[in-house]
């Protein structure tokens, strides 16, 4: 087999050449915008939308005003809620998909993928109809006698959490499923042949081996929750309008780009902290066990 020129160069030079496209992409798409965002956060906010400067005023404002801290905490609460739901139901679904064969597996995969082919706003307005006072969910609950009068599901925490979970869960399922696909079922059978019960064999083999995928899936679901914009607006109340909405509003309506940059950075730092903590916890637990 004749190798191409870069690989013929061998060793260090080949590695550098092979890494270059990825490094350029990462720097261009992630690092440079982050630097711009940090720089923007240090600008003066007046005259609007910003003027060049070097001040921590926007950071001080975030720390000084309870409104924004309250928004951050409620955003975290919503993000953690939908992450928990996505893990509980998504992991079970991904496992079911992994263990299924043939048409059943295709069917289960299609259920996850099909919603992604339509616009998220259209899907959310679809949920608004389902959850509405005159909608099918209230109809069913009334007919079953579970409620005596229509319940307001829309424009509540429940509505926002449901909409976000619906949007985020497919990503969790697909990530976790792809990790499960890399696990050899024979490992589980070996554990069982050595006396482990059903649950223990899964906990001792599948869980540790899938922990990187679990951590990645949790991170993605949490990131969806932290950055949520459309879901809380369409299905939530103003208490669910989180950091994503506030950053948008501060940019477009408030015309205060430095403060919007601070809000965005707070979001990003919160996500990074969570991802680091989760990855450490999940992966460490996986490797220990």
């Amino acid at each position: 087999l004749k190798l191409g020129l870069p690989l013929q160069l061998g060793g260090r030079r080949a590695s550098v050449l092979l890494l270059t496209p990825a490094v350029v992409l990462l720097v261009g798409v992630f690092a440079i915008p982050m630097v711009i965002l940090v720089r923007m956060s240090l600008n003066e906010s007046v005259p609007h939308p910003y003027s060049a400067g070097l001040t921590l005023d926007s950071y001080r404002r975030f720390l000084a005003e309870p409104l924004f801290q309250g928004i951050l905490w409620r955003t975290l609460r919503l993000a953690l809620t939908i992450t928990a739901i996505a893990v509980l139901f998504g992991a079970a679904y991904a496992y079911l998909m992994w263990r299924s064969k043939g048409r059943m597996r295709t069917f289960l995969l299609a259920i996850v993928l099909l919603p992604l082919f339509t616009n998220v706003i259209a899907r959310l307005y679809g949920w608004q109809i389902v959850l509405s006072g005159d909608g099918p969910l209230n109809d069913i609950l009334l007919k079953l006698g579970a409620i005596s009068e229509p319940v307001r599901f829309n424009f509540t925490f429940f509505g926002a959490a449901l909409g976000l979970t619906y949007v985020a869960m497919p990503y969790f399922i697909l990530i976790f499923f792809s990790t499960l696909e890399g696990i050899d079922w024979a490992v589980v059978e070996v554990a069982r042949s050595l006396g482990a019960g059903r649950l223990r064999s899964l906990a001792e083999t599948v869980l540790p081996l899938s922990s990187p995928g679990l951590a990645a899936g949790i991170s993605v679901a949490f990131a969806w929750g932290m950055g949520a914009y459309a879901e809380p607006i369409v299905l939530g109340s103003p208490r669910e309008w989180g950091m994503g909405y506030e950053a948008w509003r501060t940019t477009v309506i408030g015309f205060n780009w430095p403060f919007a940059a601070v809000l965005s950075l707070v979001m990003i730092v919160s996500m990074l902290l969570f991802i680091v903590l989760v990855t450490k916890a999940v992966v460490r637990r996986g490797s220990v066990e």
């Binding site: 608004q128 509405s132 006072g133 005159d134 424009f155 369409v234 103003p238 015309f255």
Partner: protein
């Protein structure tokens, strides 16, 4: 983007028809006052130029082959533009016009683009967008010599300033729109509102939709109820405190940030009554008799849409020619028949079904049309006064 950008899929593509005669653009502008719509509808530029006998004297169709990007409000408004303004203009000028569906990000997009290559050549804006654009040098002054139809406008449109006296220097006033009360007649059979105060009636609490995107309109309803002028509510005044407290008393099911949300919630039965944009509830009530709306007795808070040439545009004359066409009485008549704007040209014909509440004189416009003074309100929006923070905490309970 001028003349080079691809046309988007949502833009109606219209074949430019060759005109029976041709004139240069100076002559075109001179003759275009109040006549372009008649030209294209009538089937030729000759009619527009004063009758079939008069022959065009130039050698080229004005603006032929040039492209114009116009930012307009998205939804039915933009569709109306494509239907009532674009075909006649393209036919008469040989230019191609792209109407872009936009909303709050117009100025941000201009700021973010290269100074000599703006995303639009002509942009819509009410007082709020205008003043932000002015502060950001997004607009360039309009040459009224190129807008002869402006001589026929109601003088109120030049008097009514949302921002000092600068608004009509940078853009031509197109029409006035407003918010009204819309409701579901089947859900609320005995409800016949006449005043903004009716939003506080006990039977509608918990079933209300209110505007939180432009939160001044929600506060405006309370100001009307309390007998204050919403246009100039100042910070640190007892009036503003009362208005915030009064708005906070409402049991609101939906705080919406876009008009589409209020329509969807009203149709879905999640709200039964709402403060609504006239274009939204007007169209809905026309299509579905379940819904109705009323122009409150106190008047309505609204805004004037201006069209402003964007700085850096390479086709400013074409933009001004289109702005002139937007003031064409024939085209404005067509637009008003299918929309709810109070148009700016005195010569437009008010649709018979809207005659009862469309003003016909400057005096009526002064009485009925209210607008926010954005020299006062802009600091509220920017939260320099803390009013937005108070609204978020005391009214939205965030």
């Amino acid at each position: 983007m001028n003349g080079q950008g691809p046309r988007t899929g949502r833009v109606q593509r219209l074949e430019v028809q060759r005109l029976p005669g041709a004139i240069d653009r100076r002559e075109f502008i001179r003759r275009a006052g109040g006549s372009l719509f008649a030209v294209s509808v009538g089937g030729g530029l000759l009619a527009a130029c004063g009758g079939a006998e008069e022959k065009p004297t130039g050698t080229a169709v004005p603006f032929e082959g040039e492209e114009l990007n116009v930012a307009a409000w998205s939804g039915p408004y933009a569709r109306g533009f494509r239907e009532f303004f674009v075909p006649s203009f393209e036919q008469a000028t040989g230019a191609r016009v792209t109407i872009l569906d936009e909303w709050a990000e117009i100025v941000d997009k201009i700021i973010a683009a290269p100074k000599d290559d703006p995303p639009f050549d002509l942009a819509i804006g009410e007082g709020y967008t205008q003043i932000y654009g002015l502060q950001s040098n997004a607009w360039t002054k309009i040459n009224y010599d190129n807008v002869p139809n402006s001589k026929d406008l109601y003088s109120w449109f030049f008097e009514a300033d949302q921002i000092d006296d600068e608004d009509d220097a940078y853009g031509v006033p197109f029409g006035y729109a407003y918010e009204v009360i819309g409701w579901n007649k089947e859900k609320l059979p005995g409800f016949q509102p006449t005043s903004w105060a009716d939003l506080w009636r006990p039977e509608v609490q918990g079933h209300l939709g209110m505007d939180a995107g432009f939160f001044n309109y929600a506060l405006g309803a309370a100001a009307f109820k309390l007998g204050y002028d919403p246009a100039t509510l100042q910070v640190d005044t007892p009036e503003l405190d009362q208005v915030l407290a009064e708005t906070g008393k409402l049991d609101v099911a939906l705080w919406y940030t876009s008009g589409a949300q209020s329509v969807a919630a009203l149709q879905a039965g999640d709200i039964d009554v709402a403060q609504m944009y006239i274009e939204d509830i007007g169209n809905l009530a026309t299509q579905d008799p379940t819904f109705d709306w009323v122009f409150p007795q106190e008047g309505a808070m609204g805004w004037v849409d201006y069209y402003m040439p964007v700085r850096g545009s390479k086709v400013k004359e074409l933009a001004e020619a289109f702005a002139n066409h937007l003031l064409d009485p024939g085209a404005q008549t067509e637009f008003a028949a299918n929309h709810y704007y109070w148009m700016s040209n005195q010569k437009y014909e008010i649709p018979s079904d809207k005659a009862q509440y469309f003003p016909t004189t400057d005096e009526e416009l002064r009485q009925k049309a209210h607008m926010f003074d954005y020299d006062v309100w802009l600091p509220h929006f920017f939260d320099e006064t803390g009013v937005y923070t108070r609204f978020s905490q005391e009214v939205l309970k965030r």
